[in-house]
C-alpha cells in the first residue's frame, strides 16, 4: 500500500497505479489520482508548512481550493518551479519535487518560529505603531527584516519554458460547478439543444459527492452517477465539459474567465500541449452551482497540524482511501460533521469523541452515533490543543465551565457550518442578502443574466437541489431560444444535512480571553485581532480586514471571512448584515500570469512592423531603431565605421550626390469624396480648397486646444481625392482623430477615410542627382523641373508598376518620394538602388534624415514639439490660414495664454564651441550662476553634429525665443556650462535654391 494510512478497500484510487515524489528531499509513494495532500496524509505527514507571521507549524486543513495552510513549492525541473501551490489541489505525478515554504533552515526547525514567542508584541497592526525611530531605520533596518520574514514561497528566477493557450468561446449557458446541482442544470439545459459549457475545478466531476457516499441519484451511488452524467454530456455535440477548470472571474456582460490546467498533473506532458489554457467565455446565461465551503471552529490553538475540516477528512477517506488519524475527535456546531465520524468509524478508525458545542444536536445523528457506540459530548467545547508538529491531545470543557478533560487524539476534525460560495455571484455585481435564519449570505439581487442553484444558493435537500437546478437549466436554455428536447427528471436521496452551525469565536475564545484562536490561518489572524481592530476604531469591515489582514491571504478568506465578520459584529454590538461583507474580488483562486497573457509574449507581445524593404536593408548592413512598433533603418555603417562616421558620410553623400531612404512607415490616409477639401480645411490649419490637383502642400493639424498634433505633406490627386501623410508614430492617432470628427462634428460631409499606410511602399530619393536616378525608370510623367516642380504629385508608372510620384523634400535637396504598391516595394527599391549606386549615391537611415532635416530647419512633431507648442511657437505661422473662419483648434489658439508674449518658441542654437554637440533634453538658462532652483528658459529639442555645416546644430524651445536671435544663453550640464547663441533654424541653403534644382 502506498502509505501506512491508506485503508484497503476504501477510496476510488487504483492501488496498483503508483507514483513517486519527494517532499523536502524525502521520497514517498503515492497513487495516481492523489493530491499532494492526500499522498502526504497517506504517509502520515501532517506538518506541511509554516504560517506567514508567527511561523507556526501548519498542516492540511481542507481538501480543496479553500486551503489556507498547505502551500508548497512544486518543481518538475529547475525552470518549471511553482511556489505557493495548494497541496490540496495539486495532483501528484511521478517524479515531482515538493518543497515546504517559509521556513529556515528546515520545516521542523524554523528559526522564524521565534516570532511565535514574540507574538504578544506582534498584534494586528503593530507595525503602524513602531519602527519609527530613528527616521532612516525603516528603510534600512526594519523593512528589510520584515520583508525577509514575510512573503511565502520564493519566486521563480528562470524564464518559464512552458507555454499557455487561449480560447475564446461563446455559449448559451455556462454552468460553473459540476456537483449534483451543476450536472443537473447542465443536463436540463443540454436537453433543449442549447450550447452548454460545464466546468469544474476538480479532476473529476461530482463536487460534494467525492466525500458524501450515502447519496444516490436514480438509484446509483452519487459519484458513479456523476461520472456517467458527465460522460453523457461530453458525448453531446452541443456540450463542452471542462474538468480541472476554474471559473476565476465574472466580469461585465456575462463574460467569464476560466483557467484550465492541462498538464500540471501529467508526469511526462506532451511538450506541444500548453501548461494551462485561458477560456474567455461570453455566455448568454450563466448558472452558478459552486456549492458551499465548510468553516472551521475558532478556539484556542486550533491551528495545529492534524486539525482539519470534517468534510476534508471524509474526502481523504472516501475518495483517496486515507485515514487522517488513528484516534480522531470531532468538534462541531452542526450535524454534518457527524458523518465524518460515521465514515471513519465504519472504516475502522477509532473515534475518541464527538464534541458538539450545541446542547441539542439533531436526533438523527445522535441516534446514529449511539448505534456506532461513539461518545457524544453535547454542550461541550474544545478550548485548547497540544502537540508540536501534530495535535496530540485536546482539552474539552463543558460550556459555561467545568467538566474539563483532556483527550488524546492524533487528529481533530472541526466544522462550524457551511458558507455558500457566492464569490462569483458577488463578482458579477450581484448583491448578497443575509438570511438571519440560516446565518448565510445568499444571492439577493442579480445584476447579470445568471442564476445560482444548489448549496451556493442556500438550497437544502438533495431533491430540492436537483429540481431547482433542472428548472434553472431548462429556463436559462429556453431563454436563449432553445426549445427542443424532453424534460429531464432525476431522483436523488440521502444527502447529509448541512444547515446550522455558528460563525465567530467558540467557547473559550470569547471577548474576555486572550487565546490564539485562528480565523485566518495563513495570515495568522486570531479572533482577538478582530477585537483589537474594533477597539482601535476600525468599525467598517473593510478597515478591519485591512488592519488585521483577515481574508487577504492567497485563499482570500474562504474560511475566515464569515468568522471575522461575526466577531466584528459581536464586538461592535451590531447585527451581521449591518456590518456587511467585504468586496469579493477576482480571481476566485490565483491565476498564473502566463495563462492570462498566453500567446502575448516574445514575438507576439507586440509584433514588430517591418517595411517591404526591410530584408534589403538588413542585407545591406542597416542597424534598426524602434519607432512606435516599426523597425526603421537607422544608419548603414560600413566595415570599421562608427555611427558618427557612417552618418557623416551619408549626410555628405546626400547633399553632394543623392541618397535613397525608406519612408514607408509614414502614415497615409486616403481622403476621398466631394467634400474632401472642405473636410481637410477643417482638420488642418492650412487652406486646401486652393490646392490644385497635382500639387501638394505641407499641412499642420491641431488639437482642439490649439497645440500642434501632427503634420505631413498632403497631395491632391484629384478634385475629390487627397493623399494625406502623417508622422510615423501619429498614423493611428490621426486616423482616429479624423474619424472622430467626421462622425461626431462633421457628419454632414461626404468624405471617406481609408488608412493606406501599409498599402504603399515609399522610397525617398533625395539630392542633386535624384532626377537622374529615377528618370529612366519613370513612365508617363514628365519629371522635368518645369513640368514637375517642387511640391507636385502625379500618377504614372515606375519600373512598369503604378506609382504616385511626389516631388517633395525633407532634406532641403531636390527630391522625390516614390509611392508604389507595397508588394512592389523591394523590386522598385532595388531598381532605383542599382541606378543610385552607379551614380555614387548612398542608402541612408533615420539618423541622417534627422540631421539633414535639421540642417534645413524642418521640425519633427513629437520631438521639437511636445503638445504645448502652437504653430506660431514653431515658426509655422505661414501655414495657418488667416482667411478660414473655422478649423479644429482655431478657438484654442485664441486663448489669452496662447497669444501672449514670452511663450516658448522654437529657435536654432549654435554652440560657441562649434565642435560641441548639445545633449537633447538639456535645459537652457540666461544666467548659469543663479542659485537653485534655476529659472529655466527652455530645452534643447534636437542636436546633431552637422558634417555639411562643419559645426554642431541644435533646435530649442526657448521663452521668447523668436526675439532672442543673437543672444548668448547657457546650457548648464553637470560637469560644465555650455554657451550657445540663439539663431534662426535654417543652417543650410537659406534661399531654398537647392530644393528647386
Amino acid at each position: 500500500m502506498s502509505g501506512a494510512n491508506r485503508i484497503a478497500g476504501q477510496g476510488r484510487l487504483t492501488p496498483a497505479r503508483t507514483a513517486r515524489f519527494t517532499f523536502d528531499g524525502k521520497s514517498y509513494e503515492a497513487l495516481e489520482g492523489d493530491t499532494v495532500a492526500s499522498a502526504l496524509l497517506a504517509n502520515g505527514v501532517h506538518l506541511v508548512g509554516r504560517s506567514f507571521k508567527y511561523h507556526r507549524p501548519r498542516g492540511i486543513v481542507s481538501a480543496g481550493p479553500e486551503e489556507p495552510n498547505a502551500l508548497i513549492d512544486v518543481a518538475r525541473d529547475a525552470a518549471r518551479r511553482q511556489p505557493n501551490v495548494r497541496a490540496t489541489v495539486q495532483e501528484v505525478f511521478d517524479g515531482m519535487k515538493v518543497t515546504s515554504q517559509n521556513r529556515w533552515p528546515s520545516l521542523t526547525f524554523d528559526v522564524g518560529g521565534l516570532n511565535n514567542l514574540m507574538s504578544p508584541f506582534f498584534a494586528a497592526g503593530f507595525y503602524y505603531k513602531t519602527f519609527m525611530w530613528p527616521k532612516a531605520a525603516w528603510e534600512k533596518v526594519y523593512e528589510p527584516v520584515i520583508r525577509r520574514a514575510a512573503g511565502l514561497g520564493t519566486a521563480p528566477t528562470e524564464e518559464d519554458p512552458d507555454h499557455y493557450a487561449n480560447r475564446y468561446a461563446t455559449c448559451d449557458v455556462l454552468v460553473v460547478g459540476a456537483g449534483v446541482a451543476g450536472l443537473s442544470a447542465a443536463l436540463a439545459a443540454a436537453a433543449t439543444g442549447a450550447r452548454v459549457i460545464l466546468c469544474d475545478e476538480q479532476p473529476e466531476v461530482g463536487g460534494a459527492l467525492h466525500y458524501d457516499r450515502s447519496v444516490t441519484v436514480d438509484g446509483k451511488e452519487g459519484f458513479v452517477w456523476a461520472q456517467e452524467a458527465a460522460a453523457k454530456l461530453a458525448a453531446m455535440e452541443n456540450v463542452t465539459v471542462l474538468s480541472r477548470t476554474t471559473a476565476f472571474g465574472y466580469y461585465n456582460h456575462n463574460f467569464v474567465g476560466l483557467v484550465e490546467r492541462v498538464t500540471d498533473h501529467v508526469a511526462r506532458p506532451d511538450r506541444k500541449a500548453p501548461r494551462e489554457r485561458l477560456w474567455q467565455v461570453r455566455a448568454k446565461r450563466v448558472i452558478l452551482a459552486t456549492g458551499a465551503i465548510e468553516r472551521h471552529m475558532v478556539f484556542g490553538n486550533n491551528d495545529r497540524p492534524g486539525i482539519m475540516l470534517a468534510s476534508a477528512a471524509r474526502t481523504y477517506l472516501n475518495h483517496f482511501g486515507v485515514a487522517v488519524g488513528k484516534k480522531v475527535a470531532i468538534y462541531t456546531a452542526n450535524d454534518s460533521a457527524y458523518e465524518a465520524a460515521f465514515d471513519l468509524k465504519r472504516a475502522g478508525v477509532q473515534i475518541a469523541a464527538i464534541i458538539d458545542s450545541r446542547s441539542k444536536p439533531g436526533d438523527a445523528v445522535l441516534n446514529e452515533a449511539r448505534s456506532h457506540g461513539i461518545e457524544v459530548l453535547p454542550g461541550h467545547s474544545v478550548v485548547d490543543t497540544k502537540g508540536h508538529r501534530r495535535v496530540s491531545s485536546i482539552t474539552v470543557v463543558r460550556n459555561g465551565g467545568g467538566g474539563k478533560r483532556s483527550i488524546a487524539v492524533d487528529a481533530l476534525l472541526t466544522s462550524a457550518g457551511w458558507t455558500p460560495s457566492v464569490h462569483l455571484f458577488s463578482q458579477s455585481r450581484g448583491k448578497v442578502a443575509y438570511n438571519a435564519e440560516t446565518g448565510q449570505f445568499l444571492p439577493g439581487t442579480y445584476a447579470q443574466d445568471c442564476l445560482s442553484v444548489g448549496a451556493c444558493n442556500g438550497t437544502n435537500g438533495l431533491q430540492a437541489t436537483i429540481e431547482e437546478a433542472l428548472a434553472a437549466g431548462e429556463l436559462m436554455a429556453r431563454a436563449t431560444g432553445n426549445d427542443g428536447g424532453e424534460k429531464v427528471e432525476l431522483r436523488g436521496e440521502n444527502a447529509f444535512e448541512w444547515t446550522g452551525g455558528m460563525a465567530g469565536a467558540a467557547e473559550g475564545a470569547g471577548a474576555d480571553t486572550n487565546v490564539k484562536a485562528f480565523i485566518d490561518f495563513q495570515n495568522d489572524v486570531c479572533a482577538k485581532d478582530i477585537r483589537l481592530a474594533v477597539r482601535e476604531g476600525m468599525h467598517s469591515i473593510e478597515h478591519i480586514k485591512r488592519f488585521t489582514t483577515n481574508g487577504m491571504a492567497t485563499d482570500q478568506g474562504k474560511l475566515s471571512n464569515l468568522h471575522g465578520l461575526a466577531i466584528a459584529a459581536e464586538t461592535l454590538g451590531r447585527e451581521i448584515p449591518k456590518v456587511g461583507l467585504t468586496t469579493f474580488r477576482a480571481p476566485y483562486t490565483p491565476v498564473t500570469f502566463g495563462t492570462i497573457i498566453n500567446h502575448s509574449r516574445g514575438d507576439l507581445f507586440d509584433p514588430a512592423r517591418k517595411t517591404p524593404m526591410h530584408a534589403w536593408e538588413e542585407a545591406h548592413g542597416a542597424l534598426f531603431e524602434d519607432v512606435g512598433n516599426w523597425k526603421r533603418a537607422w544608419y548603414y555603417p560600413r566595415a570599421g565605421e562608427t555611427m558618427q562616421e557612417a552618418v557623416d558620410r551619408e549626410c555628405r553623400t546626400v547633399r553632394a550626390v543623392a541618397g535613397v531612404f525608406d519612408a514607408s512607415t509614414l502614415g497615409k490616409i486616403e481622403v476621398v469624396g466631394p467634400d474632401a477639401a472642405e473636410f481637410l480645411n477643417l482638420m488642418y490649419t492650412n487652406a486646401w480648397d486652393t490646392l490644385k490637383p497635382g500639387r501638394c502642400r505641407y499641412g499642420i493639424m491641431l488639437r482642439e486646444d490649439g497645440f500642434v498634433y501632427d503634420d505631413g505633406v498632403v497631395g491632391r490627386i484629384a478634385e475629390d481625392r487627397f493623399h494625406v501623410t502623417t508622422t510615423t508614430g501619429g498614423a493611428p492617432r490621426v486616423m482616429n482623430h479624423m474619424e472622430d470628427y467626421l462622425q461626431t462634428e462633421f457628419p454632414h460631409l461626404k468624405v471617406w477615410l481609408t488608412s493606406t499606410t501599409e498599402q504603399w511602399a515609399v522610397i525617398a530619393v533625395q539630392g542633386p542627382k535624384a532626377r537622374e536616378i529615377i528618370a529612366p525608370l519613370v513612365e508617363g510623367i514628365d519629371i522635368s523641373n518645369e513640368a514637375f516642380p517642387h511640391m507636385s504629385v502625379r500618377e504614372g508608372k515606375i519600373c512598369g508598376v503604378p506609382t504616385r510620384l511626389f516631388r517633395m523634400s525633407f532634406t532641403g535637396e531636390a527630391g522625390y518620394e516614390v509611392n508604389v504598391p507595397a508588394d512592389y516595394g523591394q523590386a522598385v527599391w532595388e531598381a532605383i538602388w542599382a541606378r543610385a549606386e552607379t551614380l555614387g549615391a548612398c542608402a541612408y537611415g533615420t539618423e541622417t534624415m534627422h540631421v539633414l532635416r535639421a540642417e534645413k530647419g524642418y521640425i519633427i512633431v513629437g520631438q521639437d514639439t511636445d503638445g504645448t507648442v502652437t504653430p506660431f511657437d514653431a515658426g509655422l505661422a505661414w501655414a495657418v490660414s488667416k482667411k478660414k473662419t473655422d478649423f479644429v483648434g482655431i478657438r484654442g489658439l485664441k486663448r489669452p495664454d496662447l497669444v501672449k508674449e514670452g511663450r516658448k518658441q522654437l529657435v536654432g542654437l549654435r554652440t560657441k564651441d562649434p565642435k560641441l554637440v548639445l545633449e537633447e533634453g538639456a535645459q537652457i538658462v540666461a544666467d548659469p550662476n543663479q542659485p537653485m532652483p534655476m529659472k529655466m528658459l527652455g530645452h534643447v529639442t534636437s542636436a546633431y553634429w552637422s558634417e555639411n555645416c562643419g559645426h554642431s546644430i541644435a533646435f530649442a524651445l526657448v521663452e521668447g525665443g523668436h526675439s532672442r536671435t543673437g543672444q548668448t544663453l547657457y546650457v548648464p550640464m553637470p560637469d560644465r556650462t555650455v554657451a550657445v547663441e540663439v539663431t534662426d533654424m535654417v543652417f543650410i541653403d537659406k534661399e531654398g535654391a537647392r530644393l528647386n534644382g
Binding site: 508584541f121 507595525y127 503602524y128 491565476v591 492570462i596 507586440d606 511636445d866 489669452p896 533634453g921 550640464m973
Partner: protein, 417 residues
C-alpha cells in the same frame, strides 16, 4: 492621543492589548462647521489635519460617503516620486516628498515610506530624449534624478532583462533614488488619527448629495444622506467624483473620470528591490512588504464609474510585465481591482478657488495623486484657511483651462503614477 512607540506596544503586549483607544472618533455631526471637507481620502483627511495644526481651525468635519481611505487612497499602488517636468509640478511633488520623509514622525504613525528608488526604463531614442529632459530640469530645480546605463539599471534591479534581443531593449533608465512607496492605509489612518486628536470630526457613511447656497451665491452647507450640515466653507476633495460634487454647486470642472486598474501577485520572498516603470512597454511594478508584486499600467480607455476590473486591461498590463521580467510568468495573480481617477486635459491637478464664494476644490490628481497626498493636503489647508493659494500651488488654478496656461505633464509623457 496616546503616543505610539515600541514601548507602548510592549506595555500593551503584556496586558493583551486591551488598553488601546480608538484611533479616531466618529461623533454625530454638529449643526454647522467652519469648514467641511468632502471626501475622506488622504488629501481630505490631510487637509483637515493641517487646518487644525497649522491654521488653528479645528471646527472642521471630513465627510466621507463610505469608509475613510476607501477611495483611491486605499486602492492605489503607492508610487512616490517628484521627478516631474514642469516647475509647478516639481514644486508641489517635491514639497510632498519632503513631507513624506518625515511623515511617520509627524503623525506618530508608521506610514512605511520606503525610498527604495523609482526607476523608469528607456527603450528608444524618444524615451531617452524625454528622460534627459526631465533629468536636467530636475537637477536645475534641485531634485535628484539620474541617468543609468542598462548595466547600471540591472545592478540596481537584478530581475531586469537587458538583453538586446528583447522586443524593446533597454537603452538606459532614469532613477530617482528618493522615490519609493508607502503604506496607503496608514496614510489615511494616520491623518485621521492626528486630525481627530485635534478635534476634527470624521464622519463616515455620509454621502454629500447637494450643496446649499446663500443669497450671494456663497455656500452655506451640504445636503447629505444624514441630513443637512451647515458650513462656512466647503472644500471638495473627492477623487473619482469631483465633477459630480462640483456640479452640485453648478461649477463645471474639466475632468474625465476613468477607471484605473491594478493587481497583486501572491506573496513571495523578496525578489524585487525597487519600483520600475516602463512607458513604452507600458506597465509598472514593485513588491510590497508582504511580498506581493504590485502591478499596474494605464487607465481604461473609456470614461466610467465602475471599480470592477476587466480581464482585457490586466492582460495588457501583465504581458508588459512578463516581457520585462520573463521570470515572472509562473507567478500568480491574487487580486485585481480598479479605482476611478479624475483626469484633467493636461494631467496636472486643480487646486484653487472656484467661481462660487467659499467653495474650494482639490481635484484632477488622476492616476498619480497618492504621492502628492501630504503636499497637496498641506497646501490645500493653506488655501482653505487663507482663501488664496499658497505660492507652491499657485499654478494649479481652474482658470488655466480657459487661458491655456497648461502644465502639460501628459505631453511630457510618462506613465503618470
Amino acid at each position: 492621543m496616546r503616543k505610539f512607540s515600541v514601548f507602548a506596544v510592549a506595555r500593551e503586549a503584556l496586558r493583551g492589548h486591551k488598553g488601546w483607544e480608538p484611533q479616531w472618533v466618529s461623533p454625530e455631526p454638529r449643526k454647522e462647521y467652519d469648514v467641511i471637507i468632502v471626501g475622506g481620502g488622504g488629501h481630505g483627511l490631510g487637509a483637515a489635519y493641517y487646518l487644525a495644526k497649522e491654521h488653528g481651525i479645528t471646527n472642521v468635519a471630513v465627510i466621507e460617503k463610505g469608509w475613510l481611505g476607501g477611495g483611491n487612497t486605499g486602492r492605489n499602488t503607492t508610487i512616490i516620486r517628484s521627478n516631474y517636468l514642469y516647475d509647478e509640478s516639481m514644486d508641489i511633488y517635491e514639497h510632498s516628498l519632503k513631507l513624506w520623509e518625515g511623515l511617520s514622525q509627524e503623525l506618530n504613525y508608521n506610514v512605511m515610506y520606503s525610498p527604495r528608488g523609482v526607476m523608469m526604463l528607456s527603450h528608444n531614442i524618444h524615451d531617452r530624449q524625454s528622460f534627459k529632459r526631465h533629468i536636467h530640469a530636475n537637477r536645475l530645480h534641485g531634485i535628484d534624478n539620474e541617468w543609468l546605463t542598462p548595466e547600471q539599471a540591472k545592478d540596481f534591479c537584478p530581475p531586469l532583462d537587458i538583453s538586446a534581443t528583447a522586443r524593446y531593449p533597454i537603452n538606459g533608465a532614469a532613477l530617482q533614488r528618493r522615490g519609493g512607496t508607502a503604506r496607503h492605509d496608514a496614510v489615511a489612518w494616520g491623518y485621521a488619527r492626528a486630525a481627530s486628536d485635534r478635534g476634527v470630526h470624521i464622519i463616515q457613511n455620509c454621502e454629500v448629495k447637494g450643496i446649499r447656497r446663500g443669497p450671494n451665491g456663497e455656500v452655506t452647507g451640504v445636503e447629505t444622506s444624514r441630513g443637512f450640515i451647515g458650513a462656512k466653507k466647503i472644500a471638495v476633495s473627492a477623487s473619482g467624483h469631483n465633477s459630480v460634487i462640483m456640479s452640485m454647486a453648478d461649477v463645471r470642472v474639466p475632468l474625465h473620470s476613468v477607471p484605473l486598474q491594478a493587481l497583486v501577485s501572491e506573496p513571495m520572498k523578496p525578489i524585487f528591490p525597487c519600483v520600475v516603470m516602463s512607458n513604452t512597454v507600458h506597465a509598472y511594478i514593485s513588491q510590497s512588504d508582504k511580498g506581493e508584486l504590485v502591478i499596474g499600467a494605464g487607465t481604461d480607455q473609456y470614461n466610467s464609474y465602475s471599480q470592477t476590473g476587466g480581464l482585457q486591461i490586466i492582460t495588457h498590463t501583465l504581458d508588459a510585465i512578463c516581457e520585462l521580467f520573463p521570470m515572472f510568468r509562473r507567478v500568480k495573480m491574487m487580486r485585481q481591482w480598479g479605482g476611478i481617477t479624475d483626469n484633467t486635459p493636461d494631467r496636472s491637478a486643480i487646486q484653487g478657488v472656484t467661481p462660487v464664494p467659499n467653495l474650494f476644490v482639490n481635484c484632477g490628481w488622476g492616476t498619480g495623486g497618492f504621492k502628492a497626498t501630504p503636499g497637496s493636503a498641506h497646501l490645500f489647508a493653506h488655501l482653505i484657511a487663507k482663501g488664496e493659494p499658497h505660492k507652491l500651488a499657485s499654478g494649479l488654478t481652474l482658470d488655466r483651462f480657459r487661458t491655456g496656461r497648461l502644465i502639460d505633464e501628459a505631453a511630457a509623457a510618462a506613465v503618470a503614477h
